[in-house]
C-alpha cells in the first residue's frame, strides 16, 4: 500500500496549483455572486489537464491528490459530482466536458449542469432541477431534484468515492486555512511583536498542523483500500482537522476573519458545508463502529 504521493502525483498537484493559484479565488467570488463565467473557464482548463478523466483512467490515489488541491484553492462547482458520474452513468466517454450535478438529496450547482442525477438510497435517476436553496457557502447553489427515469449505476460505490473526494477537499481547505493564518501570525504586530511569537498562537497552529498531518495518511490509506470504514475514517478525520483549522483561523485572524470580504471566508464557509456533505460525521462514525 502506497501512503505518500508518487513523483507523478506530486507534479500533477503542482500543475493544478499553478493553474488555480492566481484565478480560483476570483472565480469563486464571481461564482458566489451568480457569475459562473470565470469559474467555467477554469473548469475547462481543469478538464484539459485531465482531472475528470482520473475516475476512468487514473487511480483513487490520483483523484485524492487532485481533489486536495481543488480544496486548497476553494475551486467552486460540482467537482465531486462530475468526477463520480461515470460510476452512475456507466459512461466511459471522456467526462469533464459535461458538468454533472447530483442530488443526494440536494444537487450542487444544478443550474449550470449539463446532466442532473438523483441518488435515492440505492437508486439512481436522471432528474431536473427543482426549487433552489441557499447554502451558508455562497459558492454552493443547491437545488432539489425532480426525479426522472432510472439508471443502473452503482450508487454505493459512487457515494464512497464522493466521501473520499470530499475528505480530500476538506484536507486541502484545512491546509489553506493554516497557511493563511500562519502568514497573518507572522505579519500582524501587537504588543510590539508578531502575534506568531506568542506561545498560545504557536501551540494552536502546531495543533492544526498535527491534525492535518495525521488525517492525510488515513486519506491515502482509504484511497488504496477503498474499504468503506477506511473511507469513513478519512472523512471523519479530514473533516475534524479542517474544522479545527477553521476555528484556529477565525480566532487568530480576529475580526477580519469574520468578514466576507477577506479571503478566509471562502474556506471557512466551505469547510462547514463539506463537513456534512456526502455523509455526516455521525453517519461515517457509525460505519467505522459497525466494522470494529
Amino acid at each position: 500500500m502506497r501512503l505518500t504521493p508518487t513523483e507523478e502525483q506530486r507534479h500533477f498537484a503542482a500543475s493544478l496549483h499553478d493553474l488555480l493559484g492566481p484565478s480560483a479565488l476570483d472565480a469563486a467570488r464571481a461564482w458566489s455572486a451568480g457569475d459562473p463565467v470565470p469559474g467555467l473557464a477554469l473548469w475547462r482548463k481543469l478538464a484539459g489537464l485531465g482531472v475528470f478523466e482520473l475516475t476512468v483512467d487514473g487511480t483513487p490515489a490520483d483523484l485524492v491528490v487532485a481533489f486536495e488541491e481543488l480544496g486548497h484553492h476553494a475551486m467552486p462547482g460540482p467537482l465531486i459530482e462530475t468526477a463520480i458520474a461515470p460510476l452512475l452513468t456507466g459512461s466511459t466517454a471522456p467526462p469533464g466536458q459535461r458538468i454533472v450535478s447530483i442530488g443526494a438529496p440536494l444537487a450542487l450547482d444544478a443550474d449550470i449542469a449539463d446532466l442532473v442525477l438523483l441518488l435515492d438510497g440505492d437508486e439512481v435517476r436522471v432528474g431536473t432541477p427543482g426549487a433552489r436553496h441557499e447554502s451558508i457557502d455562497p459558492a454552493r447553489h443547491l437545488f432539489e431534484v425532480v426525479p426522472g427515469r432510472a439508471l443502473a449505476g452503482n450508487a454505493a460505490a459512487a457515494r464512497d468515492l464522493a466521501a473520499l473526494l470530499c475528505a480530500a477537499q476538506l484536507l486541502g481547505a484545512g491546509r489553506a486555512l493554516l497557511e493563511l493564518t500562519v502568514e497573518h501570525a507572522k505579519s500582524r504586530v501587537q504588543f510590539g511583536q508578531p502575534i506568531g511569537s506568542f506561545q498560545a498562537v504557536k501551540h494552536r497552529l502546531a495543533e492544526v498542523l498535527i491534525g492535518l498531518e495525521f488525517a492525510r495518511p488515513l486519506l491515502h490509506a482509504a484511497a488504496a483500500t477503498l474499504a468503506p470504514p477506511d473511507i469513513s475514517a478519512a472523512k471523519v478525520r479530514c473533516g475534524d482537522a479542517a474544522r479545527f483549522a477553521a476555528r484556529a483561523a477565525l480566532q487568530i485572524l480576529g475580526a477580519i476573519g469574520f468578514t466576507r470580504e477577506y479571503k478566509a471566508s471562502l474556506w471557512l464557509a466551505k469547510t462547514t458545508a463539506l463537513a456534512s456533505a456526502w455523509g455526516t460525521r455521525a453517519d461515517h462514525m457509525g460505519r467505522v463502529l459497525a466494522a470494529l
Binding site: 500562519v182 502546531a206 498535527i210 475514517a233
Partner: protein, 364 residues
C-alpha cells in the same frame, strides 16, 4: 525472508515463548526481563533491523514494524533495554566510531549491558541546554561531576549516557558521554513514580572517571548528537505503531465485554481511528526513508500525536471500567503510564514550539 513469512515466524515464536513477568522495576523483575532479552537475542529478534554483525538480522524497517506489531499484540514484556536499543544505538549508528559500535552494540542486543538515559537535571528539564553537570578533561579522559534526575531504568541499569558540560557556551559547551552506573563514585537514589514503582532515579556523580573512548562525537558537539537521538526517541523507534494498534484492539474488546455501550462508542472509534492514523503515518515515513529522505523535526508531530492518543485511549478504557477503574490492574497501570507520555521525551509544549518555529516558520 518475505514480510508474511517473517510475521508468521515472529508470531509463532512469541506465542510459544513470551512470558508474563513481574514488574521490571524490582531487582528480580529486572533480571527476569534481562533473561527475556537474552532469549530474544538468541533468536536474533532483539534488534531485527540492525546489521547481523551486531546481533540483528539486517531486516528492513517494514519488518521491524511488523516485529513491533506482533510484539505488542502478544503482550510480550516491556523492553528493559529500550534506552540502549532505541536511543543510544541510533546515536552510535549516526555519530559513533567503528570501535564504539563493535564494543557496545552486541551487548545492547543481548542486554548484557542495560542502559539508562541521563538527560534531565534539577535545573535542566524542558530547558535541557541549561545542564550544569560537568565533564572535566583529565589525562586519558574526563571526570564527571553533578546530578542527573528522572533517569529512566537507572535504579537497576548497568550504564548510562547523557550530556555533560565541557565548556561555557550554552549549546557548544556540551559533550555526549557514556558512563558506568556501577562505579563507586556514582550514587543512585531511586524515585517512586505515580504507580509506586521506581521507574526512574536520581544519579549523583562524584569524580567519576570516563575514558576518552566513551565520548560520542566530538567534544562540544553533544547537543547536535543528542538532538539526533531525541529525534529517535520521539519518532519512529521508541513508539512504534504496533503498541497503539494493540491497545486500540484491547479497548474494542473491553468495550464489547461490557456490552458495547453506545455512550462510549465514539470514544472507542476515535481511539481506533487514531491508532490507524499513526500506523499509516509511520508507514508513509518508512516509504520516505526508503526513498532516501531524512526526517528530522517532523518527529515532533508524531510525539504529540501518539502521546495524546495514548492518554485518550486509556481514559476511554477507564470510563468503560466504571467504578472498578480505580482497582490496580493492567488498564489502570497503563493509564497512569500514559499520563507521562505528554511529559517525557520532550514535553508536548516544547514539541509544539519546535513545530511552530521550524515547520511553520513562526518567529522564535
Amino acid at each position: 525472508m518475505n514480510d508474511t513469512a517473517f510475521r508468521e515466524q515472529v508470531r509463532e515464536w512469541l506465542r510459544a515463548n513470551a512470558p508474563r513477568l513481574s514488574s521490571v522495576d524490582t531487582a528480580e523483575g529486572f533480571e527476569a526481563h534481562r533473561e527475556w532479552e537474552r532469549a530474544l537475542a538468541a533468536q536474533r529478534l532483539s534488534a531485527v533491523a540492525w546489521p547481523s554483525r551486531y546481533g540483528g538480522r539486517d531486516a528492513s524497517l517494514t519488518q521491524w514494524l511488523i516485529f513491533e506489531e506482533e510484539y505488542y499484540a502478544a503482550s510480550a514484556p516491556v523492553r528493559v533495554n529500550q534506552n540502549g536499543l532505541f536511543l543510544l544505538a541510533p546515536t552510535l549508528f549516526a555519530h559513533g566510531t567503528e570501535e564504539q559500535r563493535d564494543r557496545i552494540l552486541p551487548h545492547i542486543a543481548t542486554a548484557e549491558q542495560v542502559w539508562a538515559q541521563a538527560w534531565s537535571e534539577p535545573s535542566a528539564g524542558s530547558d535541557l541546554a541549561a545542564i550544569r553537570s560537568t565533564a572535566a578533561a583529565v589525562d586519558g579522559g574526563f571526570v564527571l561531576n553533578g546530578q542527573k534526575t528522572w533517569s529512566s531504568r537507572a535504579a537497576f541499569a548497568d550504564r548510562g549516557f547523557g550530556l555533560f558540560r565541557t565548556g561555557q557556551d550554552r549549546h557548544h559547551g556540551l559533550t555526549y558521554v557514556m558512563f558506568d552506573l556501577r562505579a563507586p563514585e556514582v550514587t543512585i537514589r531511586p524515585i517512586a513514580q505515580l504507580n509506586g514503582e521506581t521507574g526512574f532515579a536520581e544519579i549523583f556523580l562524584d569524580d567519576v572517571f570516563v575514558p576518552s573512548e566513551d565520548v560520542i562525537g566530538e567534544v562540544g558537539q553533544g547537543w547536535r548528537v543528542a538532538m539526533s537521538t531525541a529525534g529517535h526517541e520521539r519518532g519512529l523507534s521508541l513508539r512504534s505503531p504496533g503498541r497503539f494498534l494493540a491497545s486500540a484492539r484491547r479497548l474494542v474488546e473491553l468495550w464489547r465485554s461490557v456490552g458495547s455501550p453506545a455512550s462510549s462508542a465514539e470514544d472507542v472509534a476515535e481511539a481506533w481511528i487514531g491508532a490507524r492514523a499513526y500506523h499509516f503515518h509511520t508507514l508513509g515515513m518508512v516509504d520516505r526513508l526508503a526513498s532516501g529522505e531524512r526526517l528530522g523535526v517532523e518527529s515532533s508531530l508524531g510525539k504529540v500525536f501518539w502521546s495524546e492518543l495514548d492518554v485518550g485511549l486509556h481514559e476511554s478504557a477507564m470510563r468503560l471500567l466504571g467504578e472498578r477503574a480505580e482497582l490496580r490492574g493492567e488498564w489502570s497501570s497503563a493509564y497512569l503510564f500514559s499520563l507521562a507520555g505528554p511529559v517525557y521525551a520532550g514535553t508536548n509544549e516544547i514539541q509544539k514550539n519546535v513545530i511552530a518555529e521550524r515547520l511553520l516558520g513562526l518567529p522564535r
